[in-house]
């Protein structure tokens, strides 16, 4: 059982790290602000989500697991809102580069 959980943790956290890597490469390589935002949200939403998912079996209790999920949800809210605001400034022609 614990072997399965270990494999699950390693797989999910690695997948999360992959999304962070892809997001960072996209942030550096994509040509304009909107596509860079697109790359960045993948790291926040999916990358962190997978890392949290992978760490859930390792949490010391239900409360700790809940805290991990809340951290992910808060990052989701923050990144979605900030992306919207940055995108709005970019569309108006301001350059937040």
């Amino acid at each position: 059982m614990s072997v399965f959980l270990d494999v699950f943790t390693v797989a999910a956290v690695s997948a999360g790290a992959f999304f962070f890597l892809a997001g960072s490469i996209g942030l550096l390589r994509f040509p304009d602000t909107l596509s860079r935002l697109h790359a960045l949200t993948k790291a926040d939403n999916l990358g962190l989500g997978l890392v949290v998912l992978g760490l859930l079996p390792r949490a010391s209790g239900l409360l700790a697991a809940l805290k991990l999920v809340v951290v992910w949800l808060l990052v989701l809210i923050a990144s979605a809102m900030v992306s919207q605001m940055v995108a709005r400034v970019a569309r108006r022609g301001g350059s937040p580069s």
Partner: protein, 314 residues
């Protein structure tokens, strides 16, 4: 190489790189961005060193609050930015600056490297006397029991800083509302965030203040989160800062430090030394002081960001 030391090495290299970039960049705003990233990386480094209290403070105050203040300063400097970067110091002045900063950095490096090994520490003494104070968090014990005078002066200094910011107001605006009135789309995303986040943020801020007695946390970190929630509502145009002439505001701003001073002097009468706590009441008094400091710090930190008065009271 173990995982921990590999992480430490990567963190150290990144920190040095960002610090160098922050100093080297010519644009004010980019330097501020570098500073904020540096602070966040530094707090990861503190976590890696198991200094969670320091990490929280670095993230909340060192990177977050100072970052916001610097962004405000950079925005104000934007108009003079072109003239500033066109200006170039002469070669002797630049050499002088390079030599002066190298000497300071070198002196600090020699100081750090010549520390005896193992480094002298009072940690065992603190841990030994922790039960007599009744606190579980050694950092809070040091801040409020052993080095109470530092914390007292710290809490007064931030109020002085706020008075300094306020005194930048032109005479006709003295006593008015701080900063410009923020306008935001009431149905926009910022207003939505300012409605969704504060209930969560207020609970988290109070929780971090409350667990500070036994776990990493404390009044400064908690008050920063509370101040951030208030600032968020201000930026979304849902709330306004009070005019700085309000009596309740001024009372709350001095209430925390005054109570701290009162309890400190009462200690001289009851417990035999200024800022000493009577046997058995240490934890209670420390929590009372911290609870009184939370409103003071929240108001001070938020109003520091809100800035000098810019609108009169009608």
């Amino acid at each position: 190489m173990t995982g921990a030391s590999a992480l430490a090495l990567v963190l150290a290299l990144l920190l040095v790189a960002i610090a160098a970039w922050t100093v080297a960049t010519r644009r004010t705003f980019a330097a501020v961005e570098g500073f904020v990233a540096y602070g966040l990386l530094l707090s990861i480094a503190w976590v890696a060193l198991s200094a969670i209290d320091v990490a929280l403070t670095e993230a909340a105050i060192g990177s977050g609050l100072t970052g916001v203040l610097l962004i405000g300063a950079a925005a104000r400097l934007r108009t003079s930015e072109a003239a500033l970067s066109a200006e170039r110091a002469g070669v002797p002045l630049r050499w002088l600056a390079a030599i002066a900063s190298s000497v300071v950095a070198g002196a600090i490096a020699i100081g750090v490297l010549s520390l005896p090994d193992p480094t002298p520490t009072l940690a065992p003494a603190v841990a030994e006397h922790l039960p007599s104070i009744g606190l579980g968090n050694a950092v809070t014990a040091v801040l409020l029991a052993y080095r109470g005078i530092d914390t007292l002066l710290e809490s007064i200094v931030v109020v002085f800083a706020l008075i300094g910011v306020w005194s930048l107001a032109p005479d006709p605006l003295w006593g008015g509302y701080p900063g410009p009135r923020q306008q935001a789309d009431p149905n926009g995303i910022l207003a939505y965030l300012a409605r969704v986040l504060p209930p969560i943020g207020v609970v988290v801020g109070l929780y971090i203040f409350w667990v500070g007695a036994d776990f990493p946390g404390g009044k400064f970190q908690g008050a920063t989160i509370l101040a951030a929630m208030w600032l968020l509502a201000m930026m979304a145009g849902l709330a306004d800062a009070p005019p700085i002439s309000r009596t309740w505001l001024r009372i709350l701003l001095v209430a925390g430090p005054l109570l701290f001073i009162a309890i400190g002097f009462a200690g001289a009468l009851i417990a035999g030394a200024v800022l000493a706590y009577p046997e058995g009441y240490a934890k209670l008094l420390i929590k009372v002081i911290e609870a009184a400091l939370v409103p003071t710090l929240t108001l001070t930190l938020a109003l520091l960001v809100a800035g000098a008065p810019e609108r009169t009271v009608r």
